[in-house]
């Protein structure tokens, strides 16, 4: 009982506010769930900051991909340039931009796919 008293209403309000929990499903969040789900995909796309990685990507995409321990499904999303799928599987937009660069995909094209995707889980 005493321990519970330390958890003031003010504290509990702050704790609740720090994790948005009532967003409509078409507005997403990069948080514990997303960052955990997208760990491998994000690492792969992030690597493209390095010009040697970009070079390898162009020379031998399969060898580039093999570095990151992606699942078969994740490799398939990469190969198909399935932007919505990559997003649903936790890829951050900020590393997706690096992948868009190396694959020569303009952001509006990614946006078009995103808009046509229906819903966050759909």
């Amino acid at each position: 009982m005493e321990l519970r008293d330390e958890l003031t209403q003010d504290y509990l309000d702050r704790l609740r506010a720090v994790q948005p929990s009532d967003l409509p499903e078409d507005l997403d969040l990069f948080d514990e769930a997303t960052a955990t789900r997208g760990r491998r995909l994000n690492k792969a796309a992030y690597s493209l900051k390095d010009e040697h990685q970009r070079e390898l990507f162009h020379r031998d995409e399969a060898a580039w991909m093999a570095q990151f321990g992606l699942t078969d499904a994740e490799e398939e999303l990469m190969r198909k340039r399935d932007w919505i799928g990559l997003w649903r599987n936790g890829m951050s937009i900020y590393v997706m931009v690096k992948l868009s660069g190396v694959t020569n995909t303009p952001l509006p094209e990614i946006g078009k796919q995103m808009r046509e995707s229906g819903g966050a889980n759909g």
Binding site: D26, A35, L48, K49, R115
Partner: protein, 283 residues
């Protein structure tokens, strides 16, 4: 003693880099004049104000910091800041001059104020800094960058994010850091990011001009009211990536309460609500 002599809130975006790099003609085209015209006014204002330093509150986009160790607040204490390669090769700008001595002082002052920032002796800056900055402080040719900077990065990418109230208080602490610096420097504080944009999911491209303009009005007239917004509310109002506006709020926190807006421009175009707002401080 150092003083805060002004503030700038400015959007940052790769699109602004593309337009800047495309040259004067594109910048002054009918399409882009509504944004780049006001930026010229800011450059003129800044030239008259003659600040010695810019403290730039911004956010990185996984170009310096990554998810292996993501800092909530990170401060540059370097003598210069190279331009990051964001995945397309770095833009051909020379490194931005820094002020390590001021950086270290700000680091000590922030820690004394219970803001336990990550201290960076090396820091590459991305479009969070160098999409708006050339418009106000860069001369082609020999001139280059004119004003040394101190960069201060805020995590607005990986939730949990520091609350809007916390960012406001960071700005207030930054103000104390500047006012307690022994050198007689004139400092302008810059906050970059936003305004409304949504880059993920079926709402990709959503821009909400009414909220953006309300945000700018509140930032000028009643900034503390913005500290009461939650991220859930900010995301609903302006989009997932629009939460960068807390960088503006931190900037405003570093200014005196009676700072007055001067240049104010807003342009909703394509997938961005572009905002630009300067604040003048009574001498």
């Amino acid at each position: 003693m150092a003083r805060v002599v002004g503030g700038i809130g400015a959007s940052h975006a790769p699109s602004m880099e593309h337009i800047y790099d495309a040259g004067e003609e594109v910048r002054e085209s009918e399409e882009w004049q509504p944004l780049f015209g006001p930026f010229k006014d800011v450059a003129t204002w800044l030239e008259e104000l003659r600040p010695d330093r810019l403290v730039v509150i911004y956010n990185d986009h996984m170009d310096q910091f990554y998810l292996d160790a993501y800092p909530t607040f990170a401060l540059g204490v370097a003598a210069e800041y190279p331009v990051a390669d964001e995945g397309f090769g770095a833009r051909p700008f020379p490194p931005l001059p820094g002020d390590a001595k001021l950086g270290w002082h700000v680091a000590r002052s922030l820690v004394a104020d219970e803001f336990d920032i990550t201290i960076c002796q090396e820091l590459e800056v991305d479009h969070g800094v160098i999409s708006p900055l050339p418009m106000v402080d860069f001369s082609e040719g020999e001139g280059g960058w004119k004003i040394p900077i101190v960069p201060l990065a805020v995590n607005v990418i990986l939730h949990p994010l520091p609350s809007p109230l916390r960012c406001w208080k960071l700005g207030q602490a930054l103000r104390r850091a500047i006012l307690s610096y022994e050198e007689d420097l004139r400092v302008v504080v810059v906050g970059t990011g936003g305004l409304s944009h949504q880059l993920t999911g079926p709402k990709f491209g959503r821009v909400t001009p009414e909220w953006d303009q309300e945000f700018m009005r509140l930032l000028a007239e009643d900034p503390e009211s913005l500290t009461r917004y939650t991220y859930e509310e900010l995301i609903k109002l302006g989009g997932t990536e629009s939460v960068e506006v807390v960088n503006w709020l931190a900037m405003r926190g570093a200014l005196p309460r009676d700072a007055r807006p001067l240049v104010q421009a807003y342009y909703a175009h394509r997938i961005m609500g572009y905002g630009l707002q300067t604040f003048e401080v009574a001498a």
